[in-house]
Symmetry: none
Subunit: 397 residues, 2 copies
């Protein structure tokens, strides 16, 4: 429906995603990370905005990064599923295309009888793994190119590419236990015969190439998956979207939905500079702040507070660009108390000329409860941003 | 589900629809139209009621009048779509029936070569157009009656009626540009062959009838559509519903869902009198106030305020009838600031003996935020009204 209502105009939307934004209170202070942070700019903005909460997937569901972001971009995360292999590939910035099949790989060790002794090859060093990847990379088997790239430690990605679309209906070769032999790649559909045959030849070849290597002498593959058939944000919203994200996984997710991926540095200062430089050339910006999630994952309450305070200091630079719509959201909550992603609704702020401000006095979990947006599915954020940018026509006569 | 739970009793429901009710704040005063209006009766009622917001279609979606009202009557506006031709026909109070096909017509001008020179015939005067409609009206082609009625200026409605159900799967004959010839009526499904053939004959006949007319010498048709197959409110709710609406489009929408359309005058005073006179004979009343929407569309903040104040003055007359359930709602927001319909949630009030009043101190956008109903889809209003009238049985054992 959104597709049929979308209109083009020159208004600009900024979606600032503070990864893992939501928290739960520190039992001593009774305040969450967001409630603890000194953030005069965010609080002042909240008083002129409409606030609320977003639910990334469904109440009680803790999302991974992919469903959390797809939902923010307006895609139903239950309909558009990104396989493990694809996510790993886009997460290291590989150029994944329709028809490719990707798998996650582990370097492992097997004994002379071929039985697995360590599924992670003692968490082999990244540099060693990178060298082994080079040795495996670039083989062409039955017209299928095998592109092999290291991730970290024992983990790598195998991307298969052919002139014809490949099927990903192949089972894991990783038996998820030691003392047994790696599995052959079995198909779950006859469509995948060509893929599975080539995978098995690739594994045989890898066995020969790795023979005698001390660090790791075998590979395990899992999570075979194809690119989901996701319509682009251009086609749905008639936007020219761009991403400003330091971390490769988020660039990868942005690329999946058709965003121009702007190159930027590692710090928030770099990202803000990139946003400023590119502001004229696009009408939608996904600006990603990773630090809050990382701090939350580490259980570091105070570091998460400091990341939020850093965002607050840069907020005037964003506002100085005068975006017509500014949304501040998170892909999920990452409470430091829980040291991981969580299911808690995520604070949400929308600022625009006609946003109908509510009585929210600050940007925090406690005050968002009284916000005018209420608690909405995260997939509603894009329609609301589009509406506030007057980029959506009327439904029905 | 509602259908299977509905019960009859003698309790009465009044649904007062203030068209375009919701607003956004005037930037100077910080107050919306509803927050600006002096409305002691509405505020006093809010203190004894449960309040909240309704979302007509989906967050961010700006509805037209038809989806906005269908939703208030409890029909999913995404499932029940009213075509342009049908809406135009019901909007001028035509008696449209199942199996009919309606189209919107334009009188236009073509040059001697048959190419369109003006798609609107210089916005021909209404009286002239009415005379031309009379000349085209009443033809019977292949057993299909062509009923032609003027709307305003160059616009008219063609309603086709036959003993058999007609298909509306016919494309527009309006090419939406000048310098080209009008299109023939092409089918989008073979089912519509009979309709399309008759439409083409009707156009040929119209060409002859209009030949030599100075004001307009050709017609363009678009929005071919059939009556949606909507179950009546009687069959769903076991109600005897009536509408009190001055404007033809809303009478038409009421008729579409099976309401008795009560004849009334143009003012709110007339409508209240009609409600009082008919109060004994029905158990559900849709009372429509158009002025707020018109004022909002015109960008006239103060006039919208005055319309709300007028409603407030008549409220005691409605309360004096002692309806068991009184709902005050809007089909959508029409903020004067936006000069048009908008996506903003619409203030909602429900008064009934057991409505569980909340802490709302007045009827306004700001106070409805704390309302006990929360923000609900407008399609939930009818079930809530039915429940509060004790007209809904228990679901499950």
């Amino acid at each position: 429906m959104i597709r049929s209502l979308s209109l083009q105009n020159d208004k600009k939307i900024v979606l600032l995603v503070i990864d893992g934004l939501g928290g739960v209170p520190d039992p001593d202070s009774g305040r969450t990370e967001l409630e603890t942070a000194e953030k005069p700019n965010l609080d002042s903005l909240a008083r002129k905005s409409v606030c609320g909460f977003s639910i990334p997937v469904l109440p009680g569901i803790t999302p991974g990064s992919a469903p959390g972001h797809l939902s923010l971009f307006g895609y139903d995360p239950l309909s558009y599923v990104i396989g493990r292999g694809i996510l790993e590939a886009v997460g290291i910035d590989m150029d994944v295309r329709q028809g490719d099949v990707a798998a996650r790989g582990n370097f492992c060790t097997v004994n002379p009888g071929g039985l697995i002794t360590d599924r992670r090859a003692g968490r082999i060093e990244s540099q060693q793994a990178a060298d082994l990847c080079k040795a495996l990379d670039g083989q062409i088997i039955d017209g299928i190119e095998f592109i092999v790239r290291p991730v970290r430690e024992h983990r790598f990605v195998v991307l298969m590419r052919s002139n014809e679309t490949l099927s990903d209906e192949v089972k894991d070769t990783d038996p998820q236990q030691v003392g047994v032999a790696p599995l052959a790649a079995f198909v779950t559909s006859l469509r995948a015969e060509r893929t599975a045959r080539a995978v098995n030849q690739f594994i045989t070849s890898a066995t020969k190439i790795l023979a005698g290597q001390k660090a790791a002498n075998m590979i395990l593959l899992r999570g075979f998956s194809s690119m989901p058939n996701i319509p682009t944000m251009q086609s749905i919203y008639q936007l020219q979207p761009a991403s400003v994200a330091s971390y490769p996984m988020y660039r990868g997710l942005a690329r999946l939905v058709g965003m121009d991926v702007l190159s930027t540095g590692l710090t928030l200062a770099d990202e803000i500079k990139t946003l400023e430089e590119a502001f004229a050339s696009h009408d939608f910006f996904f600006l990603h702040v990773k630090g809050a999630d990382s701090a939350g994952e580490d259980g570091d309450f105070q570091r998460k507070v400091r990341v939020i305070e850093e965002v607050d200091r840069y907020l005037p630079r964003i506002l100085a660009l005068k975006p017509d719509v500014l949304v501040i959201a998170g892909d999920h909550s990452t409470p430091a108390m829980l040291k991981g992603h969580s299911w808690h609704p995520v604070p949400l702020l929308l600022h625009a000329e006609y946003c109908r401000p509510d009585n929210t006095l600050s940007f925090s979990e406690a005050s968002c409860l009284a916000g005018g947006l209420g608690t909405i599915p995260a997939t509603s954020i894009m329609p609301l941003a589009m509406a506030n940018a007057e980029k959506l026509g009327k439904y029905g006569a």
